[in-house]
């Protein structure tokens, strides 16, 4: 397992993914979210978005995966996340999720690591920005 990023300024190993319609369709099936803005190209083409977009929760899942790889099950047990969707992720977009440790604080018998996160597309537009916190046991 990689060493955990637990010092201010540490980079969280990034996570990249290309958005493809087939993954969006699979996510719709798996989550039960069949909003046509995600899966119906004819409908989505008539909206101001001009085409289908990935579920926001699918993009958050990519960000959560990055944190799970960095922090292991501590992320899944104790994580918190605050995210804002800034622009849509469209099929064909190449997403890069990155993060940095912003603060590290001891709170009793745990260390709380706070990270800034962003997901950008190939045009360097921010798709999602946010902040995550994870509690790690003090050794």
């Amino acid at each position: 397992m990689m060493e955990m990023p637990v010092s201010v300024g540490d980079a969280i190993p990034g996570f990249s993914r290309e958005v493809v319609q087939s993954d969006i369709n699979k996510y719709a099936e798996a989550s039960g979210d069949f909003n046509p803005i995600h899966i119906d190209e004819d409908f989505a083409g008539t909206t101001p978005l001009g085409g289908t977009i990935a579920h926001g929760m699918l993009v958050l899942a990519y960000m959560s995966e990055m944190l799970a790889r960095a922090f292991g099950d501590a992320w899944d047990r104790t994580g918190s996340f605050s995210a804002r969707f800034r622009s849509p992720a469209r099929p064909g977009d190449k997403l890069d999720v990155v993060g940095h440790v912003e603060s590290v604080k001891e709170e009793g018998d745990i260390v709380v690591v706070t990270c800034s996160l962003s997901c950008r597309n190939q045009s360097d537009e921010v798709v999602v920005s946010g902040e995550a916190r994870v509690g790690l046991a003090v050794r």
Partner: protein
């Protein structure tokens, strides 16, 4: 809403098990919930509490989620899979117009959930905002195990497509 769509929702609502108050298990009150749902944006007010919905995080649905997002395999349910099902459960209680999109999302995870676990999602309306043609809705969700232990909390804000004149 088309009759076909209504039929689909009704059948799924009948399948969900409502928890939180013993009386929700009585057929008469289940029928009451049945006729009130799904609620639309105009039906909702801040503070409105939806009836809790109980569901199972079964292995097949979790496998489908893991494949869809390319998640690492875990010996428990990925927390965002729990959240995705929680949000989906809301889709059975309210109906937002096609084209509704997510504006922001917060989560707090507090426990791992084993595959196959039965959990309960309780949701309420925190905020509504209508300004000109723009309409937003903020919902709070609390997911608990069947013993009442909270496994995660979430807060979703969605933006509805502009209302047609």
């Amino acid at each position: 809403m088309t009759p076909h769509r209504a039929d689909g929702i009704i059948s799924r609502i009948c399948d969900v098990r409502l928890r939180g108050r013993q009386s929700f298990r009585k057929p008469a009150l289940r029928a009451k919930v049945y006729v009130e749902l799904p609620a639309g944006y105009d039906d909702l007010t801040p503070g409105h509490e939806f009836p809790p919905v109980e569901y199972v995080l079964d292995e097949s649905s979790i496998s489908a989620y893991v494949e869809a997002v390319g998640a690492a395999t875990r010996p428990y349910v990925p927390p965002l899979a729990v959240a995705a099902r929680a949000i989906a459960s809301l889709g059975e209680l309210m109906e937002m117009p096609a084209g509704t999109i997510h504006a922001s999302q917060d989560f707090d995870f507090s426990a791992l959930v084993p595959v196959g676990a039965r959990v309960v999602c309780a949701a309420k309306v925190l905020r509504k905002l209508a300004r000109g043609p723009m309409r937003m809705l903020t919902l709070e969700m609390v997911v608990s195990d069947t013993d009442g232990n909270v496994v995660q909390r979430g807060r979703s804000t969605v933006v509805l497509p502009e209302a047609q004149p």
